[in-house]
């Protein structure tokens, strides 16, 4: 078959098939008329025939470098860059499915404004297309009006931290930057800040050299992050033992040698009993503890009462199992407890920060922080300084009290931003002042605790501008929608936040251009600033210039890197363990002086969860998500939805059958703040007293043609918090207690 014919078939295989079907029937009865053979079309899909473009993934923060294969201007395949330490030639399912999002016909293609003044769930915004000039003018007008009438603090930014947006926020003079961290990982960050790093929390593991892996509810395999699943499965290949504590049989629990169905919210008691066993039996790594930790002398007294027998009464795990696992953990070297974000030590429970603290202590006792087989702090190039690259005038004075009361979190307010859990209370009750306008980027209102209440909060604002690629529920609340390009259409530079054993940067150039009227986010911010009369804060600033500055700080430049065949910068370096840590004692502080100074408990003293099951609400609520989905972002991806199309109420088979619930029956799940309805999915792989719901479903935007109306939003059940409740919680990790409440389950 010649090449032209091949191409033809590749372009339009299915039509070709239809046309030739008649001929095929003839061939079938032996007339010998050549018929379509779809196998031949597949010949053109082998890699050597395609054009290859370097990019990196932006589905999660991992930033795996990618070789994108393009045939006839269409992406046919994304391949992991073999020279990249994070990707190592492979990608996760979410990245492989990403082109379907790029080509999604539902994507936002041009700026739009709302014509229907009514807002709310299911309300058609009546969007009409407008020009970028009109969109920017509308934003500037409404923001400036809010500033004039109610002060700069009446504007809220909802987004992850980004240099350009941070500068605009400071130039406006509002303290209100609300981000998702308290629902995701602040409990982890607080313990690491206080005990190890004086800064953030690394997520870089060397588990492939680990011999004993433990997890408190961390579904590392089920979250399917490329580097984590590679790490864990390599460890399994190397005969490591894995023990997982989880009320639900997650993917990781399925692959574990032991699955312990711990009672939800009691993991801290298990960890404390492990500390008791290791310290009282002297099983710790003496050399590591002596040289790299401080405060060991407090542990014996502290852990005396936390016997395995004590923990058995709380966790419902037999004392002998706790004792055995503690001994195995301490004597199998190297051993490590891995944890990431939304797990028992993530902000799921009121005692999550303490569990995170206890996990740091346990990992330090066996000497696997910053050591092979354990958790590593990232290695990175010196970073460029935004203010030095783009000098600016002084920022205006601003008030410090915030709409989410984040400034009252003694530790977390220093370096992360904002609280999804308390912002609804702030907006609705005007605490501490009224707010009027918001700039939102790529957050979905479905992802907030008590999403329906958050919709009411957004309705109270006079004006919302939303930057998105999708007509998400947040976009449906907007007055002006600004479309961004998909990451496969953009340029950029990435560090590898989940795997950087040595400094390495990846660059990307646009793989394809869909021809939509979109603008990159940095450009949008500069344009908004100009329209608002704040352009002097952004003299010479652009996304491209910033990318170049980041590369120059690392010793190269955009011009040098943009055509580089590997798309990567940085030489492999051997691992050199750190000898010092960024704490007052320069050691890992088992007894945390930083916690103490800030008025918190220096040791993870037992504390029960906030709100366990009771007579009215007898079930524990668990949240997980399928490996192929990314939060609320992937439900309009046809390929991902074909692989996992609906969320369910996952119930224990025996429990459900006793309630007369069969597989597939509709059930109501109700918490004190909301109610959702889902089909029951019965399994033996969950505790009798739990119901588990996968996150990401329940979309109500009618512009999402695939995602609309499928499943239910787990977040509708999660109580939001008042400013006062959060203060009363007095949690150094300021967690949103995402599953720390009970529910009831009834047949619908």
């Amino acid at each position: 078959m010649n090449e032209i014919k091949q191409k033809e078939m590749n372009v339009n295989r299915r039509n070709f098939l239809k046309l030739t079907l008649g001929g095929g029937a003839a061939a079938a009865v032996g007339l010998g008329i050549p018929k379509f053979a779809h196998a031949e079309a597949e010949q053109s899909l082998v890699e050597p025939r395609s054009k290859v473009v370097n990019t990196f993934c932006s589905v999660c923060g991992g930033g795996c470098a990618i070789k994108a294969h393009v045939v006839n201007d269409r992406i046919v395949h994304l391949e992991g860059n073999p020279d990249d330490q994070a990707a190592q030639g492979r990608l996760c399912v979410k990245a492989y499915a990403a082109p379907k999002t790029l080509y999604d016909p539902d994507r936002l293609k041009y700026p739009m404004k709302r014509t229907n003044p009514e807002k709310g769930e299911g309300v058609d915004p009546g969007f009409v297309q407008i020009s970028w000039d009109e969109a920017l003018e509308l934003i500037a007008e409404n923001f400036n009006k809010a500033i004039d009438e109610h002060g700069p603090e009446s504007i809220i930014f909802f987004m992850r931290g980004q240099d350009f947006a941070n500068r605009l926020r400071n130039a406006i003079g509002t303290p209100n930057h609300v981000a998702h961290q308290s629902t995701c990982f602040t409990s982890q960050v607080a313990s690491w800040y206080a005990q190890v790093t004086g800064g953030g929390r690394p997520y870089i593991y060397d588990l492939e050299n680990c011999k004993y892996i433990m997890g408190f509810g961390f579904d590392g395999l089920g979250k399917s992050k490329n580097m984590h699943i590679r790490n864990i499965t390599r460890a399994l290949s190397n005969n490591a033992k894995m023990v997982i504590l989880d009320p639900y049989m997650s993917v990781t629990a399925r692959k574990a040698h032991e699955w312990i169905q711990i009672k939800p919210g009691t993991d801290l008691a298990f960890a404390l009993a492990m500390i008791h066993v290791i310290v009282s039996e002297g099983l710790h790594d003496e050399e590591y503890v002596e040289n790299y930790t401080s405060g060991f002398e407090y542990l014996e007294d502290f852990s005396r009462e936390y016997t395995p027998e004590w923990a058995e009464g709380i966790t419902e795990v037999p004392a002998e199992d706790i004792r055995r696992i503690a001994r195995e953990f301490a004597t199998t070297k190297p051993a490590h407890i891995f944890t990431h974000k939304r797990d028992a030590a993530g902000p799921n429970y009121a005692n999550s920060t303490k569990l995170a603290q206890a996990i740091v202590i346990l990992n330090a006792l066996v000497g696997t922080i910053e050591r092979e087989g354990g958790l590593l702090l990232g290695r990175s190039f010196p970073s460029a300084n935004f203010d030095e690259t783009f000098p600016r005038p002084d920022f205006p004075e601003r008030r410090s009290d915030r709409i989410d009361a984040w400034e009252q979190r003694e530790i977390m307010s220093r370096f992360t931003n904002g609280d999804f859990a308390t912002v609804a209370d702030g907006i609705l009750n005007e605490k501490p002042y009224p707010t009027k306008a918001a700039l939102v980027r790529k957050y979905n209102v479905l992802a907030f605790p008590e999403a329906k209440r958050m919709v009411e909060a957004f309705k109270k604002l006079d004006f919302m501008a939303v930057c998105e690629i999708y007509p998400s529920e947040m976009a449906m609340m907007a007055d002006v929608v600004l479309p961004e390009p998909h990451w496969l259409e953009t340029s950029g530079v990435s560090t590898r936040s989940f795997f950087s054993r040595w400094p390495q940067l990846a660059v990307r150039t646009p793989v394809v251009d869909m021809g939509y009227d979109t603008k990159g986010f940095s450009g949008i911010i500069v344009e908004i600033a100009k329209a608002m009369g704040l352009g002097h804060y952004f003299e010479g600033a652009s996304g491209g210039a910033w990318n170049n500055a980041v590369l120059e700080a690392a010793g190269t430049s955009w011009d040098e890197m943009k055509d580089d065949p590997t798309g990567l910068w940085g030489e492999e370096k051997p691992f050199e363990p750190r000898e010092e840590f960024n704490t007052p004692s320069s050691k890992i502080e088992l007894y945390s002086t930083v916690m103490e100074e800030n008025g918190f408990d220096p040791l993870p003293t037992w504390r029960p969860r906030r709100e366990g099951p009771n007579d009215e609400y007898p079930f524990n609520y668990l949240i997980n998500r399928p490996p192929m989905h990314k939060m609320t972002e992937s439900q309009n991806n046809t390929l991902v939805m074909e692989l996992y199309g609906e969320n369910n109420a996952i119930l224990n088979r025996e429990t459900a059958e006793n309630m007369g619930i069969k597989d597939g029956d509709l059930v109501n799940i109700e918490s004190r703040v909301g109610k959702i309805q889902l089909k029951a999915k019965l399994t033996d792989g969950i505790r009798h007293d739990c119901v588990c719901v996968f996150h990401g479903f329940g979309h109500w935007s009618r512009k999402l043609n695939v995602a609309y109306g499928i499943g239910a939003n787990d977040g509708d059940l999660i109580p939001s918090m008042t400013h006062e409740e959060m203060k009363e919680l007095h949690d150094p990790g300021a967690g949103a207690c995402m599953t720390d409440f009970p529910v009831k389950v009834t047949k619908a």
Partner: protein
Amino acid sequence: MSNRNDLTMLVDHSLCIGCEACTAVCKNIYDVTPSIFRTKIKEHDTGQFYSGSSAGNMRKLYKKDACFHCSEASCVMACPTGACRKNEDDLVVIDNRLCISCNYCAKNCPYNAISYDRPNAVVDKCSLCEYRIKEGLEPFCSTVCPTTAVRFGTRDEMMAYAENRIQDLQGQGYVNANLYGATEFGGQRVLNLLDESPQQYGLPVNPEIPLSLRLWSSMPLRPVALLAGAAMVGFNFLHSRKYSAKAEEVREKHKMAPHCHFAPGIDEDDDMEALERKKEEDRMK
């Protein structure tokens, strides 16, 4: 360079995490019809569950379901036209020029590895990326698997890997760890390394080709069946035309691009109007 007839895939199910990366790439790159899969991960529950500390011997297993490319292939024996055949690399492939959509191959596959692609009036199955193998490349699923559960190499390499891994797994307490496919149906080109018994993974033990199929494959009157098949093709052609028109309508309603064949909850036998009604009712709720 090794003989291409010797190249073998091994799926180490102890490392499969059910993420469907292989499925996603296969569907995407070959533009496989919605609800049809050349490869798919299936879950199997096994063992007894009890509440308490450890989980008893309860396990949830992931099994990669795709064609194993048997040496003695039931589907090849069943095919009346020679459309389902062995290619020069001894892989089982479908030549759609000769397929009359009689579906006998699919019905006779003991592993349900062949799907009837009704909209296109063909059968679809994994070819082990035959054209990549011809070019000296690995099949996509082994190059993309993020946990390297799917492996590819010479038969000797795969057998050696299996031997070591089974020993390791048995040492870890997976006493039933075994290799499936080394001898089944004369040996298969896709070997399945299992950490529980084949039954628990839903695989037939010591499978044999039924006598009826052997008789059929040596039957002299297959041309008669061929004619019957031709009649079926005619029917199918008409039917699939009707289906295509309906599918086009649905795409239009859902504002889907021509490349986007999948609509939620729609499969080939659904009454499209009923589905629309149901969606509307859901909206009203």
